[in-house]
């Protein structure tokens, strides 16, 4: 079936199988593989996107449910070649190893800082608890969040 949605501020249409997720549609139909497919059960957060401004796991949204809605993915955060400050901070802090978790974490961090510009360490941990990272042990990810928030170590 055909759906129409706004992704990264641009209108898109796609023919989707009724049972497929927004994640599959983004990755395989709309040419936006930045959101990652690590579990497809909402446990890892690597598919995190903003759906109508709310942080969600794209693997748990039925593609058809996004019909008529707005999605922002990791590909839509920067401004042209200019990285988003959160992306910049992830690089600077060494928060990226294999990077599979990174798109989801970057989106989740953008969402966090939008709501809580100066989060405490506990707030950072709680906000990112739905984004698993198997490589970094999270320390440098927390560094990146603080860096992006301008919090002095």
């Amino acid at each position: 079936m055909r759906i129409a949605l706004v992704v990264n501020r641009e209108p898109h249409e796609a023919d989707v199988w009724e049972g497929e997720s927004l994640l599959f549609a983004l990755r395989e139909r709309l040419g936006l593989p930045g959101s990652k497919n690590a579990c497809e059960q909402g446990e890892c957060g690597s598919c995190s996107v903003l759906l109508d401004g709310r942080l969600v796991c794209a693997c748990l949204v039925l593609a058809v449910q996004a019909d008529g809605h707005e999605v922002i993915t990791v590909e839509g955060l920067g401004d042209g070649d200019q990285l988003h400050r959160v992306q910049e901070a992830f690089l600077e802090a060494g928060a990226v190893q294999c990077g599979f978790c990174t798109p989801g974490l970057v989106v989740a961090t953008v969402d966090l800082l939008e709501r809580v510009p100066q989060p405490s360490d506990d707030e950072i941990r709680e906000a990112l608890a739905g984004n698993l990272c198997r490589c970094t042990g999270y320390a440098k990810i927390f560094d990146a969040v603080r860096l992006a928030a301008g919090i002095q170590p």
Binding site: G19, G42, V56, L60, V61, V64, D67, A108, G130
Partner: protein, 263 residues
């Protein structure tokens, strides 16, 4: 597979009557896992996301009506979190921010899991479930709505419209045991209200029996209450924990909850 997307409750109920096999999907946090893991291939899905009447919450003569599409994130925000503090605490233990932004009370009722975290706080507050169909709507106590593990009292043409609660305004809390410090399905959980007004203790456990269930006692029986909750539970050994541990943990949780609520 087919997806039906009604734009109003009336339309949703009509579709459900027409297609009783259609599986409702709200936040999708349970349904999508079934689809993605190839565990379910329903002929039709009934997408409830566009039904405005199910969203949010309202007050009606002393009662609070939680729309089926109320999310955990909604339940954590004031003033609702002050009206139903145990539900707000329970919501904070659910999954992650991503899950709390999508997962709904209606979905938790629909799934009727023994581990559903919204259920114990609603049980201790005496919640009723409002179910609707083209035939009309009815309200039944939550304890009667929950029939067994993943079984509820919905007829094939019915939808959950809301959960209706009269907030007790009494001290209450929710706790959940899991083997990691976030993002866990309860090994066991407990909601408790110390209702001074009615002179009653009410506790409800999760993940310690086929359905979350209520245990109550007069306030004066406080000393024996933890034992009572543990004895009432019907835990089993499973992947997440042993029956013995669950009983033990319920005892500890009840003692602590009593401390918190009666301090």
């Amino acid at each position: 597979m087919e997806v039906l997307t009604p734009r109003s409750l009336a339309e949703a109920l009509a579709l459900k009557a027409e297609r009783p096999d259609a599986v409702p999907i709200g936040g999708g946090t349970d349904v999508m896992v079934e689809l993605n893991f190839d565990r379910a291939r329903p002929d039709a899905l009934l997408n409830l996301n566009e039904v405005g009447e199910l969203k949010g919450w309202s007050r009606e003569d002393g009662r609070v009506r939680l729309g089926a599409a109320l999310t955990y994130a909604d339940a954590m925000r004031p003033p609702l979190c002050d009206l139903l503090p145990a539900l707000a605490e329970a919501s904070r233990t659910v999954g992650s921010p991503q899950i709390r932004n999508r997962g709904t009370i209606g979905g938790n009722l629909g799934t009727a899991s023994p581990a559903g975290d919204a259920l114990p706080p609603l049980l201790v507050e005496g919640a009723e479930v409002e179910v609707a169909s083209v035939r009309g709507s009815r309200r039944l106590p939550l304890s009667e709505f929950l029939l067994g593990p993943k079984r509820n009292a919905l007829a094939a043409d019915e939808l959950v419209a809301a959960a209706v609660v009269t907030p007790s305004g009494q001290p209450q809390t929710f706790m959940k045991v899991g083997t990691r410090n976030a993002m866990v399905i309860a090994v066991c959980s407990l909601a408790l209200v110390a209702d001074r007004e009615r002179g009653e203790l009410r506790a409800a456990y999760g993940s310690a029996g086929p359905v979350p269930a209520l245990v109550s006692a007069p306030l004066a029986d406080r000393e024996a209450f933890a034992e009572r909750v543990a004895a009432a539970a019907r835990p089993i050994d499973d992947l997440r924990g042993t029956a013995a541990y669950r009983r033990h943990a319920l005892r500890v949780l009840t003692e602590r909850a009593l401390e918190r609520c009666l301090a």
